[in-house]
Symmetry: C2
Subunit: 319 residues, 2 copies
Amino acid sequence: MKDEIAIGIDLGGMSVRVGAIDQQGTLLAVHDALIEAARGPEAGLARISALIEQVLTETDARPLVGIGIGSTGPVDPVLGVINNPYTLPGWKEVPITRWLRKYYDVPITLENDADAAALGEYWRGAGQSVRRLYAITVGTGIGVSLILDGHIYRGLNNAHPDGGHMIVDPSGPPCYCGAHGCWESLCSGPAIARRAREADLSSSMILEMAGGNIDKIDARLVAEAARAGDRLACSIMEKVADYFAIGVVNVITCFVPDMIVLGGGVMKSSDLFLPRLQTAIADHSVMVPATSVKIELARLGNHAGIYGAAYSIWSQREE
Amino acid sequence: MKDEIAIGIDLGGMSVRVGAIDQQGTLLAVHDALIEAARGPEAGLARISALIEQVLTETDARPLVGIGIGSTGPVDPVLGVINNPYTLPGWKEVPITRWLRKYYDVPITLENDADAAALGEYWRGAGQSVRRLYAITVGTGIGVSLILDGHIYRGLNNAHPDGGHMIVDPSGPPCYCGAHGCWESLCSGPAIARRAREADLSSSMILEMAGGNIDKIDARLVAEAARAGDRLACSIMEKVADYFAIGVVNVITCFVPDMIVLGGGVMKSSDLFLPRLQTAIADHSVMVPATSVKIELARLGNHAGIYGAAYSIWSQREE
């Protein structure tokens, strides 16, 4: 008999990725496509089904044991419903697991994407077998997840705790979450870009690097300018790194995890964050053993989500 | 055979309380004494032993099943060691469970006092059988505890997460924890008193209420003045309540507990905190179901610690 596979799906606001992963954690096939959420959930589901068929074909029709989905949230993992009109316009109360089960008679799980990415790092990434693993993903937002003994920590009504929206400076900018100065509003990629766009760019190289088009300024460009010694960019990245450090220090104070895994697009510039982060951690180690908490970079990159989604299937079978 | 009892001990910086509690949660005898920590841990232990003997005598020599201790921390619950020269001067590396075991050949447990108080509320107080119970005790400091399915959440190396020191305003006052503007530095009893002492008191009744002695201004007095309509006191309590609300909102965002139990001396003025807290929670319920989190006042008052310490014995026997 051929080795079995699980399908892992990573559904984001822009695109969807589908991978076939065996029980040993080998990625056998992977494909992605734009999700074009605004065309509606039915069209999105058709696109997802096509990707599933594609990876199933490429893995030579191995037996399928289940399909795991990690989706940009809010999601209801128990009901299997995506309810995210915010980053998937029109996707309100979408019973994705029930829809998929019409075509695939296997267990189907649905998790928040930050939880799926964290599970992936727990299973095959930087946080393998870590008892208390806290994952922080910094990109267009800040997503967090706590994995306790291999299980996703869930709040009341299975809610996903959204620590990226903890308030770290009440005098900070407003966020769609209702807060002023939440972590995400201060440190996400768009927050970094906004700081540059709103600054006096006259003696900075940033605008030139953006081809003179202020709308083309993004976080990566600001980070590049900082590495090239641009003073404004350096000062922006230092300010953001200090706020980022406050959030991490708060995570350590509140959870004292064994390890924190940092991932997401903004952490590709981790060199601009880690020195100030380490200093801040050392400065806040009176009440908790903060300097004993391991800080690691994510290892699975943008495959963490499909790994974790597949693991939500494999871990069920191991129980 | 007579009903068995467990001893619960609540060891604070000023005093120690010892109670005898049966498996049904009936408090049969309780006594306290000043701890006078500076006289040294041996003297303190002698005092504790005397209190134990006293409650054992008063409970008519019922069989003793164990002794639970909740102590002002840091403590090591596994090694049974108190290491708190901060609020128990001279108590560095004190192996209290080993010392007590010389006299009492029963299981002896040691927990952080915030954890013990939370366990007490879980067992016989406001949070009975709540799956995710988060307790916040506001007094001379802010102590927190997360009880998950009846078990204390512990961090790396069994560290007690000290969420009272999460940073909520980086422009706030310095704290001994190493942070500026941690929750405790903004909202504890001493923080409230300090705000009043440092204010212009000339058109306020606060100084008069303190008998003209600025050193006698404490949090309770500021709260009383606020209730009497004193404008300065009202503005202080409103500012503190807003900061308190930020901390609670962050707890909800990061943990989404089923219930938050508020206790400690400062929460005797909960009437001055709850209205602004409820507004803040409603304003921050976009990402998590914040308004579904129950907010309750602690029910066991200053007996929560001995209840929880005793429960750490009784719960072992139930397993």
